[in-house]
């Protein structure tokens, strides 16, 4: 395991790939201090972690949330450690440091016992059971090897299989800009005076989510189409004040043309 750590330390300035999360990173940084975890300087450790994360952010913007959360917590802890103790605090900076040291030590011992476990005499590697088991008649269900895992994974597999999980995008009924332009052109041919934008909207009294979306999209599309038409010199747009009502009117010369065409 130690060799593994040394390898990771070499990679410190490169990436986070070798780490199993922020606690793992902190533990590796702590080991760099080369002191007993119980005597570790949490302030120094917090600074190291924050520096490391800062460097990482320059290379990799997609830093996992776990690391960012730990960084902000450590920044908080660091500021608490540097400031004089406040009386109204629920938890003292020292207590928070102790909790962090405890968590690091706890993770470390879990790794230690893991390496102890894995080096024991293991069945199927060092030690073996009977290679030719015989069926025992008298023990009921003895020969059934189905486990709970088999049962629940079978159920999950069944559920996954029967559920159509292909993704279908939701189709919204919206009023396209193209439709809006056609509608505006048609209506402005018959309207001569300044007319509010709302009067151009298609009638829709649907109160469902769909209906609301349709009305919002028609307002947006009519407005966009009006900008297009105005740019082309076909209509005039008027708004007296901020958030005041928007009005359209066909351009004078254009209405004449329309009359001539009509």
């Amino acid at each position: 395991m130690n060799d593994n750590y040394n390898e990771q330390l070499d990679l410190f300035h490169v990436n986070l790939d070798g780490f199993e999360g922020p606690l793992d990173l902190l533990l590796s940084l702590a080991k760099e201090q080369k002191v007993d975890l119980l005597e570790i300087s949490i302030l120094e450790l917090a600074s190291q972690y924050l520096n490391f994360i800062d460097q990482m952010k320059k290379i990799d913007i997609d830093l996992a949330a776990d690391y960012i959360v730990m960084a902000s917590w450590l920044a908080f802890l660091k500021s608490k450690l540097l400031l004089p103790d406040q009386d109204d605090e629920d938890v003292s900076a020292k207590e928070l440091s102790a909790i962090l040291a405890f968590r690091l030590r706890r993770l470390e011992v879990m790794r230690e016992v893991g390496s102890k476990l894995i080096t024991r005499d293991r069945e199927g590697i060092h030690v073996f059971r009977r290679g030719m088991p015989e069926n025992i008649f008298l023990i009921k269900n003895f020969n059934h090897k189905d486990t709970l895992f088999d049962l629940i994974s079978s159920y999950s597999g069944l559920r996954n299989r029967n559920y159509d999980n292909s993704w279908k995008p939701r189709v919204f009924s919206i009023f396209s800009i193209e439709d809006a332009r056609n509608r505006l052109e048609k209506m402005l041919g018959t309207i001569v005076d300044w007319t509010k934008i709302e009067d151009f909207l298609p009638v829709n009294n649907d109160v469902s989510e769909e209906g609301v979306l349709f009305r919002k999209s028609s307002l947006a599309s009519i407005f966009s189409a009006s900008l297009e038409l105005s740019k082309e010199g076909m209509i005039e747009i008027n708004q007296n004040k901020n958030f005041g009502s928007i009005k359209f009117k066909i351009k004078e010369n254009r209405s004449n043309i329309n009359e001539m065409l009509a």
Partner: protein, 204 residues
Amino acid sequence: MIEDNENNPLIEFSDQIRAVEALLFAASDPLDEKTLKDMLPVDTDIEEIMNNLLNLYKGRGVELKKVNNKWMFKTASDLSFIMQKEAKIQKKLSKAALETLSIIAYHQPVSRAEIEEIRGVTASPGTIDTLMEINWVKIKGRRKTPGNPITYGTTDEFLVHFDLENTKELPGLDELKSTGLLDSNLPPDMYPIDDDLEHIEENN
């Protein structure tokens, strides 16, 4: 009766004898003498070892046997009443049986028609029978709906075998999702275990 190590002739046995004993015990097939010899030091007198082992296991619950020039341990033939002659019971349930069992476990009390609906296939007639034969599934009663279909549920033996205290200990939909076993897009209305499961009164 063997009282202590001083009187136990076994500890005098050479490591080679111990090794052959272990190899034959762990082997999944009978081993011939050449195979055994290849695993042991060159000067090993394999015949003497086999003779020693033969004597050692004579009259015991487990005997050393030579079959087709290969050696194997076998339980003594006079104890065969304990052993099953042939493996009648499969070691693992078939996929269909395991699926049916899981549906019964999660949806009990459940009728055959409902099982078929969930599995999306017509149940083969033997599947539920098999599960009832090994006593993991039982008839729970009849549902008080038209046709009064028979409903099925799991037995205490099922709980014992799968080391469950009760069927509520089965992981629920959310838990299956968090393990990654279940597609996380499954709609929530497919939640398998009804919280009121116990309150559904069936004719037991």
